[in-house]
Every structure is written in C-alpha cells, then in structure tokens.
Symmetry: C2
Subunit: 389 residues, 2 copies
C-alpha cells in the first residue's frame, strides 16, 4: 500500500533519504580525503539502516551513546562498537553479554581507580575489552587533560589488567556546539586534534601502544583544517543535521534530512498565532539554535511538499502537544485547520528520540510518498535489566 | 526475582507508589469535597495502572492528549475518554475505530467551520461523537472566548449535525504554570472557572444543552477557592508532581513521586562538577522550574534511599547522555564513581516520556525494592497508521 505524507497521522518523524545520502556521502568523502576512518556516532539516528549507509566505504565500526544502542546494533550485525561514555564497573556485565554475542565493544575511562575496578570485574566475568582513555580537549565534561599525570596513571592501570587492553585515546570537543563562527569552530577543531594527538604522543613516549586516536563532533569534523595524527572521526548529527548545525554553518537548511510532520489544529488570528499538533514532546524542548538564529524557537515551519520555510514562521512556544506558531505574517488562508506542515527541528538528536520509527521519503522522487519505515532504538533498559525473560 | 534500585541499569524511571497514592487520594478528596467529578489527565502518567488509582471513587472517565493514549487506555478497559486537543477531520477515522471498539470518546473543537466538517465526516463514517467547545480562559492557546460570537456559532454547527452532539464546554488555564504565587494561581483559577461557567450559561441561555463544564490544570485544581458551576476537573501532573509544581507551591519536594535513577560516571573536581549518566534525553530539556527555583537546572540530585536532596546539587547542563552536576559543595567522597543518585525532575510530563516503563517502589516499605514494573504509552502512531497489519 502506497502511503503519502498527506494521509499520515501526525505528529510523525519524516526522513528524506535523498538528503541523508547526500550528508553521509559528503562526510564519507571528507574522511577518505583526510585518510581517517569514519566511525559515525549513531546516537542521533539510532537506526541500523542509517548505520549501514553511514559506514559504507569505511571500517564498518560505529560509535554509540548507550548500551541499549549497542545491543540493537549487534542484533543488526554491527559488531565493532565504541561505547563513547565513561564506563562504570556495574555496567560491565551487560557489556560482557554483548561480547559473548560476538561484539567487539571498546570502552572508555577517565579514571585510574575505575580502570583498576574495571579490570578486576572483567577478570571476574572472564571477558576482555579494549579501552580508550578519554581526553578533555576543552569541553570539560569528562576526560583528563592530555598533559595531566592522570593520563599515564590510567594507562598503567589498564596495562596491569590481564583483561583490559589500552586501545588509544578519544576526545570530543563538544564546545564546538557553542561556537558562532566557522573560524571559531576551526580553532576548536585544532585544539581537539592537537590535544588528543598530544595525548597519544605522550602514551607512546612512555612505552604504551596507542593504535586509536579518535576525535570529532560534527562541527569540528566539518570545519577542521587538519586531521593529522588522527586515526578516526566520530561525527553523528551530520547524518540528519538540524537548525543548531545551520546556526553553526555546518550545513544549510536544505541539508536537514529530518522533519516533524504536523497538522494545523487551531487558528488564533487575534493572538497572531496558529497552533499545530507538534509540541514539546514531538519537537523536544531543546532550543540550542535559538541563541544564534533569531525567530527559531522550537523549529521552523516548512511547507509539506518541498520542505521550504514559510516566511519566518516558527514554533515559539511548545506545550506538551501544542506548538504555538508565530511569525511576521501568518498566511492563514494557505494553512487552513487540518492542513499539514513540516517542522525543521532545532536539535535532531533530541527530536528524533520521541519517535520509534522514521517515515522515509525520497525527495528526489515523489516528495510525499513514504517509501519505507525504518525503526530506531530508544531508551536504556532491556528486558533482562527489568528482571524479565 | 527481587530487584533493587542499587542493581538496576541506569538511567531508569522510578515511581514511588506511596507518594503516588498520597497524591491521587488528596486530589480525589478535593474533588469529592467540591462536588465535581475528577477526570484525571493521563498525559503525564500514560499508564493504565495510574489511571486505575487516579479514577477510584469517581466516574472512571479520563482525559488524554493523543489518540495513541486513547487506544492504549481502551485496550486496558477504560472507555470514557475526553481527547482534550482540538480535533481535525483527518483524525476522525481513527476516533471512529475507537468508538467501534466500545470507546465513548468526547472530542473538542474551537471552530464552527471545522465543527461542520467533523459532522460531515462523522456521518460519512457512520460514527457519533459528543463534542465539547473549548473556551480560552486566558492561556490564548486554543479555544474561543466565553463571550465571543464564535461560541454560539460552534454550538449551532454542532446542533445541525446528526452525528455530533454538543456535550458542553472545556477550558484549561495553562497560564497558571507561569504564576509565581498561590494568590496569583487562585486568581487564574477563578478566571478559569468564571469563563467556562459563563460560556455554559450563554449556551443554556440560547437553548443549547451543556451537561459538561470542565476546567482544570494542576495549579488551579490545587489552589482554586471555588468550583461552583463546574461539573469536572482535569488535572494531570498532580499524580507525580515535579519541581515546576514545587516552584508554584502546588506540592513539596517530598510529594514528587517520580525520579530518574542515575549513576555517577566521572569526577571533575578541577571544574567543580561531577557527571552522571542522565542527560537531556533521560531528564528532558525542560527547565520550567528554573525560572522560579534557583539552582534547579534540569533537576535536583537526591540520595538513593530516601530521595532527599543532597545540599544544593543540581543538573546544570544536560548533554544527550551526560548530566553536569554542580552545587556549592560537591561531596565527592560520598558520591564515588559508580554510585547512584536519584534526580527529581523539572517537568514530569516531559521527563517520563523518555521511558517505556516505571520501576515501581514503595517507600513505605523497602525504599530500594522494585515491587512492580508498570508500562506506559508513548508516541503517536499505531501499526495501522504506518500501513502495517
């Protein structure tokens, strides 16, 4: 049965395969030219079909942000997985179960005492893991400074474990998301590169092996001037892009591959707004683009077929199931109650998480026809975590 | 198998049955004393088990914010459902399918032309619905003013349909969420009551029946001084409460029934923070309490067992899977890496939506023991919406 966007229940998450492919190919080409592996971060798409496209021509390895993602991807045949969030011992049993199913899971740590505990726990579980040391290249979230004493202490702790192997270093210059110019992002990218390469040099100088030198957010992957010394990059949101990335000049609005299909449910001309059925749950409450792009709010209102913005219309207020659309001139006659719009999201990772699947279209063919449904994995727990069979 | 919170994978959503029962009983008692029906809004809990508790002693009717919720509750045997979002004709077929399964679904409209279209579509589908007219009592989201010409025009449009019946009027004074004092909320509650009762009087004066006079947000339900003329109230978030409701003095922190279980994953003393594995997805990016309560951010950090706040610790920054915890004095020794905390959420409706189930505890008994798992319904589409069997 052919289904079209103008028949689909709303709100729904639409993925334009044409834009997705253009995005994955451009980043793939960028990595190939730089001579680094592309290990895409699937925290944005959480989709095996997207992973398949994004890894084409590379090692096939991916990055994830949760163990639930890792389980989903292993079930879909992707086994080379970096879990890029600091590991704690209590999560090791679940990781060991993945390893027993054939996964090559690489873990992350930023603490020597935890590294020792992980080693003990891995030995008790009879499991072996590669471990990366997280380097803080200025985001100040997790990680150790490249030149700190902690770096070598962690390396020694890993080295002393018979069940853990130091695989290298990893960093994420998340401060790039707060930059407001390309030059600023390029400077952050250079710090990110220099710090993680510096950490690798220190480890090697101290006699440790350091095969992996991993960096990369989407802004720094797009705007870095050099990848020298890196072995891989791990951008994620570039697969879909969003208005936050438009704001950071990492893409144009025409590159944004996901949108939220919504229905106009009320006209309120006396209050200079109309209301759609996509609110805070359908769009998320993230407003990270709004600090740079005026009149963005929770997303831009675009037309159904071409997904081009209608004037300066945007979702200014997001209640749970109501989006308040405002702008300089609201064309009520063109947007009657019951008509459909598409909302370009502020932050793709947050918006997509409200949906269990993508209505996939291909704007190179019929822009309204849903050609496939792709699933995605959300949440954190599996049945066994809940004590269920 | 007995499972405890200190063994559960994180992040996870914890629901304290003791606090929930206290909340549902208090609101139930308030409605009974006022002589109005309690038709709880299940948009917050989205759980059949919570619906069962919240409706005890009342008509058994509930309110929902999506048709997916309506489908879930009908499947769980709850059939008297008000869908409290303006209806559009394209959604009527799905509503008719629910009616065919025995649901008594009451719809909402704020537009005469749409009411006529709904009537035509209902006739074409061979389905009959009760319809409420939405009154705007100052939120300016959807609805018509109680004294506007639109009110009687909508009533006439409904009256002319053989398949729709005017059931009454409904309002939601959502502006109560922005109030900062009890006196202010009480004033909003009185406007809400007066406007919707005024609309009912106008309809009756014009010869229309108006059985239902429905009002209520949690703040106005808690702080209203009179319910005179109302037939029902529809609060929702009171079942769980949250820091936004603490900020509006609708509850105390000890009434907040849900919390996010999280693990400390990194210490960053040089940056005066520690990092937990609950970030923007696990907590949501909603910060509605933060405008009133200082040092709230994305939630308060509480201890594992008693769920009491630790100093002034709070999640100041929420990346996708990382929460940055700050405060005047971070007790690193008491919160080693791997230890667990509970986060009181800023806005329960938004936070809970990231989870497919609740780990239910009962703090009146063992505060760590998970006594049950309760499911919840998220999202908007059913299999048939996706063209699947």
């Amino acid at each position: 049965m052919i289904m079209k966007l103008d028949q689909l229940a709303t709100p729904a998450l639409v993925l334009d395969r044409r834009r997705l492919l253009r995005n994955t190919r451009a980043m793939s080409e960028r990595a190939r030219r730089a001579g680094v592996d592309l290990r895409p971060h699937l925290k944005t798409a959480k989709s095996a079909r997207v992973a398949e496209l994004a890894t084409q021509g590379h090692s096939g390895g991916i990055t994830v942000s949760t163990l639930a993602e890792a389980e989903y991807f292993v079930a879909h045949g992707i086994v080379d997985i970096t879990y890029a969030v600091c590991m704690v011992p209590d999560k090791l049993e679940r990781a060991a179960q993945l390893a027993a199913r054939g996964a090559r899971l690489t873990l992350l740590t930023d603490n020597a005492a935890v590294a020792r505990e992980l080693g003990d726990r891995a030995a008790a579980l009879g499991a072996r893991f590669d471990v990366l040391i997280e380097i803080d290249s200025g985001e100040h979230r997790t990680g150790v400074a490249w030149d700190s004493d902690h770096l070598l202490a962690i390396a020694r702790a890993l080295d002393q474990s018979s069940h853990l192997a130091l695989a290298g270093v990893l960093t994420h210059a998340g401060q790039s998301y707060a930059c407001e110019s390309i030059a600023e992002i390029a400077r952050v990218a250079e710090v990110e590169r220099r710090d993680v390469v510096g950490a690798a040099a220190r480890l090697r100088g101290a006699g440790f092996s350091c095969d992996t030198v991993s960096a990369g957010s989407t802004p720094t992957a797009v705007h870095a001037e050099s990848f020298a010394g890196l072995t891989e990059i791990r951008p994620g949101v570039y697969t879909f892009f969003d208005l936050a990335q438009v704001a950071r000049r990492c893409c144009t609005p025409d590159d944004v591959a996901i949108s939220v299909l919504a229905t106009v449910i009320s006209h309120q001309p006396e209050h200079r707004r109309l209301i759609i059925d996509a609110g805070g749950l359908a769009l998320s409450k993230d407003t990270s683009a709004a600090t740079v792009l005026p009149d963005t709010g929770y997303g831009w209102i675009c037309d159904l077929g071409t997904c081009q913005r209608i004037g300066d219309l945007h979702v200014a207020v997001a209640d749970q199931e109501h989006g308040y659309v405002t702008g300089g001139n609201i064309p009520y006659a063109e947007l009657p109650i019951g008509s459909r719009v598409r909302v370009l999201p502020n932050h793709a990772c947050m918006t997509a998480a409200a949906y269990d699947s993508y209505a996939v279209i291909d704007s190179a063919e019929d822009p309204l026809e849903i050609v496939e449904w792709w699933d995605r994995v959300n949440g954190w727990l599996n049945a066994s975590n809940k004590g269920m069979p």
